[in-house]
Amino acid sequence: MDFSWLSDPFYQRYLWTGFVNTLWLVAVSGTLGLALAVALALARIQGPRPLAMLVHGFTTVIRGTPLLVQLFFFYDGVGRLLPEIPGVRDSLIWPMLRDPFFYGALIFTISVGAYTGEVIRGALLSVPDGELAAGRAFGLSRWQILHRLWLPRAFQLCLPTLTGEAILLLKSVPLVSTIAMMDLLKAANLVRDETFLVYEPLLLIAGIYIALTLILTGAMRLIEHRFPGARPAAIRRRRLLPG
């Protein structure tokens, strides 16, 4: 095992860029994806029938095809057709449309939206009707019921599942190295090409991923504990303790 290349600032910069890009991609697509997931879930439950069916079809296609194929389809397939549309090349968004990060963030957001949307839909449906009726009896508006009652209760129910989804998102980041985005795997592959070391860079980022997974699990568990009423057992235990 030869890890002497780690002291070379040149390789350190590769890895640092990859690390930052990885976290950035998770943060962006996690946040946007969660918002999309709530929108898709609500569209399927409350939207008009054609919209609900459209969302159902969209979710089925996204969940039924490999993420890698989706990445290539948008980056190489759609991405190569875009310049042929007149005006796109001169538009302000053109630099964005050539950036692999944009495609990574776009596909991951869609993917998180589709997978997590199903989770949130299930959670929204399992909030007891009586609680929503109570909200209406108190004269809350539809919007108030949604953001004060229905969504918080749904998140309470599905937080542990969301932890799993967050880890799945983190672990799918290396896929973007195939569309030339500088993530941890791409950085490791560059180091491998230049140092002719086959395993060490890969083992290093495997270690980084294990650490990130543990940190993410810990952070999500903290949120689960802090979320009001999310873990009745844990809170009950705390109340029983003296002091």
Partner: protein, 234 residues
């Protein structure tokens, strides 16, 4: 232009369908081996012997914490070298080249087994203790108890997880294309590069994966009805 594109699709239809067949073969074999590894892993994790329990936990925790693509690249290169090192250590200095197919199946099965371990562990823990004690009271041997009681009693709990893992596996086979093995997606990439019609061929590949996942959904729904027969509805 469109007639040229159609000719491209027709020319590539046979190789792509062949790629789809290879993908299915890899997935089926890896799934079968993964089921076995999962049973072994769950057995290890539920074992009364601490070292075996630690080994099972290590396997399922580490493999599930590392991205699949990274594991596939690592094991793909490491697998061949480890085998050769082992052979050299045994005094046999022939150089073995593991075929891409064997490697793909092995790597995917290894990853699949770790996830399957958790599914089976949960499903076995959910079997009411009394049923196992009843088997012991009737003097069942361990093997009879396993295949007469444990397997039928855990399957209803395990099947949703198993069906999820199968879908993940079918989609994960596409990752093998990254190390250059010719399955469905790799063939589609070649077709796209040679005809320069990326949109068409990636959409076609996606459609084929969708057919596979939707088709297996239907099969798993039937299997679930079968293993739940005689049980009250959910």
């Amino acid at each position: 232009m469109s007639s040229y594109q159609n000719a491209g699709l027709l020319d590539w239809a046979a190789p792509i369908l062949h790629g789809a067949l290879v993908t299915l073969e890899i997935a089926l074999l890896a799934y079968a081996i993964g089921l076995g590894l999962g049973l072994l892993g769950a057995g290890a994790r539920l074992s009364a012997w601490p070292p075996l329990r630690a080994l099972g936990t290590l396997y399922s925790t580490l493999v599930r914490a590392v991205p699949e693509l990274l594991l596939i690249i690592l094991l793909y290169y490491a697998g061949t070298q480890a085998l050769n090192a082992l052979l050299n250590a045994l005094g046999d200095d022939t150089h073995v080249e593991i075929g891409g197919f064997v490697c793909a199946v092995g790597v995917l099965a290894f990853v699949q087994g770790a996830y399957m371990t958790e599914v089976f562990r949960g499903a076995i823990l959910a079997i009411p203790r009394g049923q196992l004690e009843a088997a012991d009271a009737y003097g069942f041997t361990r093997w009879t108890r396993f295949h007469r009681i444990v397997v039928p009693a855990m399957l209803p709990n395990a099947l949703p997880g198993m069906s999820n893992l199968w879908l993940i596996l079918v989609k994960d086979t596409a990752l093998i294309s990254v190390v250059g093995f010719e399955e469905l997606f790799f063939t589609a990439q070649q077709a796209a590069a040679s005809t320069r019609d990326y949109f068409l061929f990636y959409a076609a590949a996606g459609a084929l994966y969708l057919v596979m996942t939707l088709g297996s959904n239907a099969l798993f729904a039937r299997a679930e009805r079968h293993v739940r027969r005689g049980q009250p509805g959910l």
